[in-house]
């Protein structure tokens, strides 16, 4: 077992992990942060997207041991206390989720996009989110929600 010291959503954690254990499994099974989902285990669906030192990654392709000394942020950590992140609010308002299994990964990925590009075009949003599969919505309402959240966040700053 490998000893891993990492920070998740601002909290420090000490973990003992199997060398083969993914960051996703460590988050879900050891820290009970089940917001990130395993849709494929091969980095194709993006449902497990988390931020590793602010970089969006498929946590199913990252070993838990690689989180040593890094800051991890998951969907559980994107709201500010009781105040939802604008993306979270806009997803509800625009009905941008049906089953909701892809939503945590898409929210985390979209948050990373807006931190880099506060005014993305529709095409930029579509390509940024091309690694996050949604089977329910046809993406229409998701794209609208992200663009609307971006617009609101620009006005707020």
């Amino acid at each position: 077992m490998i000893h891993v010291s990492t920070t998740v959503n601002g909290d420090a954690h000490e973990l003992l992990c199997d060398p083969r254990e993914t960051l996703l499994d460590a988050l879900r099974d050891r820290l009970e942060l089940t917001g990130a989902k395993e849709g494929c285990g091969t980095g194709d669906c993006g449902a497990c997207t988390v931020l590793l030192d602010e970089r969006p990654v498929c946590s199913c392709l990252v070993l838990a041991a690689e989180a040593e000394g890094q800051e991890v942020r998951t969907v559980e950590g994107i709201a500010d206390g009781e105040d939802l992140h604008p993306l979270q609010r806009k997803f509800i308002e625009h009905a941008a989720l049906q089953c909701g299994i892809c939503t945590p990964g898409i929210l985390v990925a979209a948050k990373a996009l807006l931190e880099r590009n506060p005014d993305p075009s529709e095409t930029e949003v579509r390509y940024w989110l091309a690694g996050n599969l949604c089977r329910c919505t046809g993406y229409d309402k998701i794209i609208r929600a992200v663009l609307d959240a971006a617009s609101e966040m620009r006005e707020a700053t």
Partner: protein, 746 residues
């Protein structure tokens, strides 16, 4: 419970409130199939056949059982014996008996203290196979000399002389198509094929099961129908149904694929053997290899048309491959294709064909999208060659109220014509096309279903309401239920909480399938609310000392009416609820029945597509869905169903397919090689909600989930064919196929 013609002035229905589970779903709090644990829980892995067809000579699990952390191994011997009919099929599919019937067929399962330990031990299970010849293509499987999947599987509907792999046949219609073809100015007959596709839900099947030596169990699982899971598990494990309580998790997509049972009895069998809770989560490759896919098809469609666009006759043969078990939806395929049209002469034949592939499962309007692809392609070609407008021709021949349907009954009030007219008026239909682009039109039809339904509506002491339904929420239906209850009771939407109850809490509820939830659980909710209102009025009448019949319910209050009008102040629901303990006890409304009157639904789609002549790649540039919803309870989620169906249809038409190699093994069991549409593949998807009320629902609701996937295959194929100048008859229209077609033309 018929359509209430006086229903108007809705206060809640038709608005777009936030869904009640929204915050849970955007914060990661919602609990899906794989998101729960239990003390002492084990993790399970299923061992699967790598061969398309083989006799299982021997399974030796002794090394695996001795591996670290392993607590139980099960094989077919650990399940019930002597099952018959579909229960036997389900068991045979989820744990092979004598034969492995397809690549990915389960042969054993292991439970261990961690998922890594279970995976390691799975490699130690030794299975000896005797290879047998296999067949995976539908047309090949019907040829003389094709390997027989299961001798004697055919039922009495199959004509003599057909290959034993043809196990069921459907034959319906009226008139004489040959007579119709003789009256036509142009007759076109073509063959069309579609490959198997997967529902592609992002959440793999997952469950957590506990089954004690006393036969009592608890099961948590992602399913479209937990009463069905309960019933099937009880049969396959030979326990009493009521001793197993099943709770449905949040469900991460189903689209029909989670109406079937694949893993739950395996987890429970392992739990019974290990006497510990067992969690079983399918890896994605297993999801592709052993669950879900649609039938693949091979179809011959022949249609005759006059120069004025009148269809004079139509016939079709629809061959559906459903894997190593009977059940491909060939009757739906046969019945749906010609349903949009009023035909004097029509005949449709369907064949259910077995092959060495996974057992097909329902996928959104099973069979209808493929049939529409064949039928609507031929109609498009007739329109092209006769120089006719594709919408005018469809309007000319459209099924209307009173038309005798191609499969027998006469249509009730239907909205096909309204969708065609709305499509014709939509700016998309008359927008100029870019150079080299093509436009496609298609209609589509689905039956919709009602099914056994039970609902309970319990009043809390503060006047808020707890609504329990038994249909898992697969796309936002709890919002619609809250809305319908609030509408009837005259209370705010936020005062209703809807819960998907477990199997111990309500009577039997059929699966969330057939686009039935907003129709049937909605109708049941309205009825339960009306039942509650009666009880509320009675409490007020008792208090006032007047007849219950002299009390009306308006805007959340009991109001004296008739001769007593104005005698007493209105009594709000909160006041009655606050005193119910002293006035007769709990107030609970309920409804249990199998409603009749799930109205059918039609749609018309318009698609623009561009084809890259160098790469063969297709881009869908514009998409418009026009569909009859009867009455849209929450329009945003109706639009979502329209958009989702269109997007899945785009994947099916252009990219998605099960690819089998010569060895009968699935070549693309992952999302990298089985490519579903991603955000950058699609345009915005415009929607038009047509509302022609369903006479069988008090608010006029028709199911909307499935019809949206019926027209896309054909509409996209028509757009691509018109763009490329060559008729595309095989799906998916992957780039290589389009290049071949372009090359063949030149």
């Amino acid at each position: 419970m018929a359509f209430d013609e006086e229903t108007n002035g809705f206060k809640v229905v038709g608005t777009r409130p936030d869904r009640p589970d929204g915050i849970d779903k955007v914060t990661g709090r919602a609990r899906f199939g794989a998101d729960v644990t239990a003390p002492g829980m084990l993790h399970a892995v299923i061992i699967r056949s790598p061969h398309a067809h083989a006799r299982i000579v021997k399974i030796n699990s002794s090394k695996a059982e001795a591996a670290p952390g392993v607590k139980a191994v099960v094989t077919r011997a650990d399940f019930a014996e002597g099952l018959e009919g579909e229960n036997w099929n389900i068991l045979e599919n989820l744990m092979a008996g004598e034969y492995a019937l397809y690549d990915g067929h389960a042969v054993a399962a292991i439970a261990a203290t961690s998922s890594l330990a279970a995976r390691d031990a799975a490699r130690l299970v030794e299975v000896e196979y005797e290879m047998l010849p296999h067949v995976t293509d539908v047309d090949d499987a019907m040829q003389e000399g094709a390997p027989v999947i299961r001798a004697g599987a055919a039922d009495g509907s199959v004509p003599a002389g057909m290959h034993p792999n043809v196990v069921r046949c459907h034959d319906s219609g009226h008139g004489d198509p040959e007579e119709g073809f003789a009256e036509a100015d142009l007759v076109i007959e073509e063959r069309f094929t579609t490959e198997a596709t997967h529902q592609g839900y992002i959440e793999p099947h997952a469950c957590l099961g506990t089954l004690g030596p006393d036969g009592r169990g608890e099961l948590w699982c992602c399913t479209q129908g937990h009463w069905n899971v309960q019933k099937v598990c009880a049969a396959l494990l030979d326990i009493e149904t009521s001793k197993l309580r099943v709770t449905a998790s949040e469900i991460g997509g189903g689209f029909g694929g989670k109406t079937a049972v694949f893993i739950e009895p395996v987890a429970l069998a392992l739990s019974r053997k290990a006497n510990r809770p067992v969690k079983l989560v399918m890896p994605r490759a297993d999801v592709f290899r052993a669950t879900g896919p649609t039938a693949s098809t091979s179809m011959d469609v022949k249609i005759g048309m006059k120069k004025d666009g009148t269809i004079t006759g139509a016939s079709g043969v629809f061959r559906c491959q459903g894997g190593a078990f009977p059940g491909a939806p060939m009757e739906f395929t046969a019945m749906c294709g010609f349903a949009p049209y009023a035909l004097k002469h029509v005949r449709q034949i369907g064949y259910d064909v077995m092959t060495n592939r996974p057992k097909q499962a329902a996928y959104r309007a099973p069979g209808s999208p493929m049939a529409a692809f064949a039928v609507e392609s031929v109609i498009d070609e007739l329109c092209n060659r006769l120089g006719l407008d594709p919408i005018d021709v469809r309007l000319k021949n459209a099924s209307r109220e009173g038309t005798k349907a191609n499969f027998g009954p006469s249509w009730d009030r239907i909205g096909l014509v309204e969708t065609l007219e709305a499509a014709k008026e939509h700016p998309h239909f008359s927008a100029p096309l870019a150079e080299g682009a093509g436009r496609g039109i298609s209609c589509g039809f689905w039956f919709n279903h009602a099914g056994e339904t039970a609902v309970q509506l319990a009043l809390s002491e503060d006047g808020t309401v707890q609504l329990s339904v038994g249909t898992p929420d697969i796309g936002g239906s709890r919002a619609s239920m809250c809305m319908m209850a609030a509408e009837e009771l005259g209370i705010p939407y936020e005062d209703v909480r809807t819960t998907v109850a477990d199997t111990a809490t309500l009577g039997y509820n059929e699966i969330s399938h057939g686009s039935r939830v907003t129709y049937a659980s909605g109708l049941a909710t309205i009825e339960a609310a009306r039942d509650t209102v009666k009880k509320l009025c009675k409490r007020a009448a008792d208090k006032w000392g007047i007849d219950a019949e002299a009390v009306e319910w308006r805007e959340g209050c009991a109001i004296p009416s008739g001769p007593n009008a104005g005698d007493f102040d209105p009594m709000p629901i909160k006041e009655i609820a606050g005193r119910m303990g002293q006035t007769g006890g709990p107030i609970v409304g309920h409804f249990e029945a199998t409603p009749e009157g799930a109205g059918v639904s039609f749609a018309t789609h318009i698609v623009d597509a561009e084809v890259d002549r160098e790469t063969g790649a297709t881009t869908v540039t514009r998409y418009t869905v026009v569909q009859d919803a009867g009455k849209a309870i929450h329009p945003s989620y109706v639009e979502g169903q329209y958009q989702g169906g269109a997007a899945q249809g785009i994947g099916w038409a252009l990219n998605e397919e099960y690819i089998y190699d010569e060895d009968g093994r699935l070549q693309n069991a992952g999302f990298l090689d089985y490519r579903i549409p991603v955000a950058s593949d699609l345009p915005m998807i415009d929607t038009v909600i047509v509302e022609v009320p369903n006479p069988g629902h008090p608010y006029g609701v028709r199911g909307v989930g499935e019809t949206s996937i019926c027209p896309p295959l054909a509409a996209i194929a028509n757009a691509v064919s018109n763009a490329a100048g060559v008729r595309m008859q095989d799906l998916p229209m992957r780039p290589s196929r389009i290049l071949e077609a372009l090359k063949a033309r030149s």
